[in-house]
């Protein structure tokens, strides 16, 4: 049941990505509306898919990393729609939706074998740990998109030869605010999520990082974001903060990749 809806959702995300790219090339109001419509439809379909999956499993669909990534995608899309509306950055979709697409294809491919839940995985704290970390990851996906747009626009301005992107992308100040706000939103969620994970793992396995690449890498990502946030507070601006946002998200993607490909407790 959930597989049908998930496939339909992915189809809608593919369409949304296409329309978002088309909107960057040709700024027609109609294309933007179609992109928003496809995004919203994809999100609604994914909601149904996740509810159906949770129903089938009899627990929140967060028991494996593939499931968690699927939920992360769901949060990213929700945040994307909200931030786009709030900030008025209409090209945001073109930068966020490709990430959404890669993540959801990855998690859908892994979905075919629904894993039995590890006995050690139980208790409400676990779900809170995963849920908070996912909201953090979603905010950082937007942080990444904002930083990417910032660097592209900065490059245009530095090159002094305006190309198509110069006209399509918003001003640096708006983009910098977007990256700062998403960082400020994501960081507390990621921090609390990680702290809960550490406490819970300590209680369940007695050791925190032993033989789990995901836990180690997520700590590296956390350090990068913590450093960026500290720099921001000390007055970092645009350029440097944007580079750190890219590196931080790279570490997060590695983290999730490690969880999907390397053996460990998060598998």
């Amino acid at each position: 049941m959930h597989a049908i809806f998930l496939n339909l959702a992915i189809l809608a995300y593919v369409l949304a990505t296409g329309f978002s790219f088309a909107y960057v090339v040709q700024r027609e109001e109609l294309i933007h509306r179609l992109a928003s419509l496809a995004t919203g439809a994809g999100w609604a379909l994914q909601t149904v898919a996740l509810v159906a999956l949770g129903h089938e499993l009899g627990r929140p669909p967060l028991g494996s990393l593939a499931e968690a990534v699927s939920v992360a995608v769901w949060v990213i899309v929700l945040l994307e729609m909200w931030v786009e509306r709030r900030s008025g950055v209409r090209v945001l979709g073109a930068f966020v939706l490709p990430v959404v697409l890669v993540f959801s294809l990855k998690s859908a491919a892994a979905h075919h074998q629904l894993p039995a839940i590890v006995p050690a995985l139980s208790g409400a704290w676990l779900w809170v740990h995963i849920g908070l970390a996912l909201v953090g990851i979603a905010a950082f996906a937007l942080n990444f998109a904002g930083a990417l747009m910032y660097l592209l626009q900065e490059h245009q301005l530095k090159a002094r030869r305006p190309g198509a992107l110069y006209y399509r992308l918003p001003d640096l100040e708006t983009l910098d605010r977007l990256t700062y706000r998403t960082l400020a939103l994501g960081f507390p969620f990621l921090t609390t999520g990680l702290v809960l994970g550490v406490l819970w793992a300590g209680a369940a396995w007695g050791s925190v990082f032993a033989f789990d690449p995901l836990a180690l890498l997520s700590f590296v990502a956390w350090l990068i974001y913590a450093g960026t946030l500290a720099g921001r507070v000390l007055g970092w601006h645009g350029h440097r903060a944007a580079y750190f946002a890219l590196i931080g998200f790279g570490a997060l993607v590695l983290t999730l990749g490690a969880g999907l490909f390397l053996p460990g407790r998060h598998g």
């Binding site: 530095k158 002094r160 006209y167 001003d171 708006t174 601006h237 350029h239 440097r240």
Partner: protein, 422 residues
């Protein structure tokens, strides 16, 4: 209803001819009055700007009306009508509508998207209205042309990107800073162009303004003109530290602002961006300043490049605008046909409604104490019958007007339903 436009513009006529034909307001009034009195055109609007002279008119014989108007115009200005007649272009009906929409939306302008033309068309229309040469056809045409022009301006970007160097600088500043409110400007050197750029920035909310100049008196004078503060030239570093936008235009032969100097200043100012607009030739700011983090430096050639790119962007947007205009022309032409048959449709509906209401009243009176349900049923029944009967003739009238054969059908409907003479 033959609608046409005839005239000449920067596209097909040299400036020598255009300037000879351009008319002032009182001459235009005379011309319009003459056209109205001669009776060759039923309606007329004359648009006269430095780039075009055009007559929009409704006449039974467009060719005749066109010749009459331009002969009159040439007589006013003492120009040989033969020379003018040879350069005139003429568009009729749908093509005339398209031309009116394109001109008003600034798609036919020398600089695409320039804002003046809309005002000029509005003035020409108002003038013709005051001369009473505007009838229903031109009224609908121009009202719609204004609406289309507005739509083109808001839905495309043909008028958005700056086509002058000083406005291009303002737009760049906006791309860097977002809003310009409370951004500090520093003028280094005093020149007409830097003063103009500063004024544009101030209009966008930039504040405060500092003026540094080698001649103290000149710095004071310019500061006063811009409501700014004069700064001694040897305190330039401190001024750079506080500025967001720096406009340089001194006559110095070597760079006044070096990379080292800017780097030293950057330390004290956090990572706020710094934008140099270097209008001076030879340049006042070392080009390598641009490589510093969060520092942007544009010289006069860079600004011209931006203007060129902006013009190309406008042309790209113009293609979208053409599509939009084409759609509007289609809609308008369809409606133009309906305009002829609408009065008949309205009186047809009124006539039948009158009959229906009268008969229902009589029946209800005869029935005496009818329940509200019965009344409602009778109303609904009679309305349904009337609508069913009207459906075929109204559809036929609309179709015939689109096919251009409405006249005989209109007469027939008037006869059959006793609507009186048209």
């Amino acid at each position: 209803m033959p609608l046409f436009v005839a005239g000449l513009s920067h596209r097909n006529a040299p400036v020598e001819l255009r300037e000879q034909l351009a008319l002032e307001e009182d001459k235009l009034r005379e011309l319009l009055a003459g056209v109205a009195a001669a009776g060759t055109a039923r309606e007329a609007v004359v648009l006269s700007t430095c780039n075009r002279v055009e007559v929009y008119a409704v006449a039974d014989v467009p060719g005749e009306a066109r010749a009459a108007v331009f002969r009159r115009l040439c007589r006013h200005r003492g120009v040989d009508p033969a020379a003018v007649e040879a350069t005139l272009y003429t568009h009729v009906e749908g093509d005339a509508v398209r031309h009116a929409f394109r001109v008003t939306a600034s798609l036919d302008s020398m600089m695409i998207g320039e804002p003046q033309i809309l005002g000029q068309v509005k003035e020409a229309f108002a003038l013709a209205q005051s001369c009473e040469t505007v009838g229903p056809a031109l009224h609908t045409l121009f009202t719609q042309a204004f609406a289309v022009a507005k739509k083109v301006r808001t839905e495309t970007e043909i008028a958005r990107h700056a086509v002058s160097v000083s406005f291009a600088a303002v737009e760049l500043a906006k791309k860097i800073f977002g809003g310009l409110a409370r951004k500090a400007i520093l003028l280094v050197g005093a020149g007409k162009m830097s003063e103009l750029a500063a004024k544009h920035l101030v209009e966008q909310g930039a504040f405060p303004i500092y003026v540094a100049n080698r001649t103290w008196a000149r710095a004071q004078e310019l500061a006063r003109a811009l409501a700014g503060t004069p700064v001694p030239f040897d305190e330039l570093d401190a001024a750079l530290g506080g500025a967001d936008i720096v406009i340089t235009s001194t006559a110095a032969t070597g760079p006044v602002v070096t990379r080292e100097r800017v780097r030293a200043v950057l330390h004290g100012r956090g990572a706020r961006p710094l934008f140099f607009i270097d209008i001076a030739v030879p340049r006042n700011v070392e080009a390598s300043v641009n490589t510093l983090d969060d520092v942007y430096c544009y010289d006069i050639d860079d600004l011209r490049q931006v203007v060129d790119a902006n013009i190309r962007e406008r042309l790209r947007e113009a293609q979208r605008a053409e599509v939009l205009v084409e759609r509007e022309v289609g809609k308008f032409v369809a409606r133009l046909g309906d305009v002829e048959v609408i009065p008949t449709i309205v009186s047809l509906r009124e006539r039948l409604e009158e009959i229906r209401a009268g008969e229902v009243r009589k029946t209800l009176m005869r029935l005496g104490a009818a329940t509200p349900e019965t009344r409602e049923a009778i109303e609904a029944l009679s309305t349904a019958i009337v609508n069913k009967i009207l459906h075929a003739p109204i559809t036929k009238l609309r179709e015939s007007s689109r096919a251009g054969s409405s006249r005989s059908w209109l007469d027939l409907v008037h006869e059959l339903f006793g609507l009186g003479r048209r």
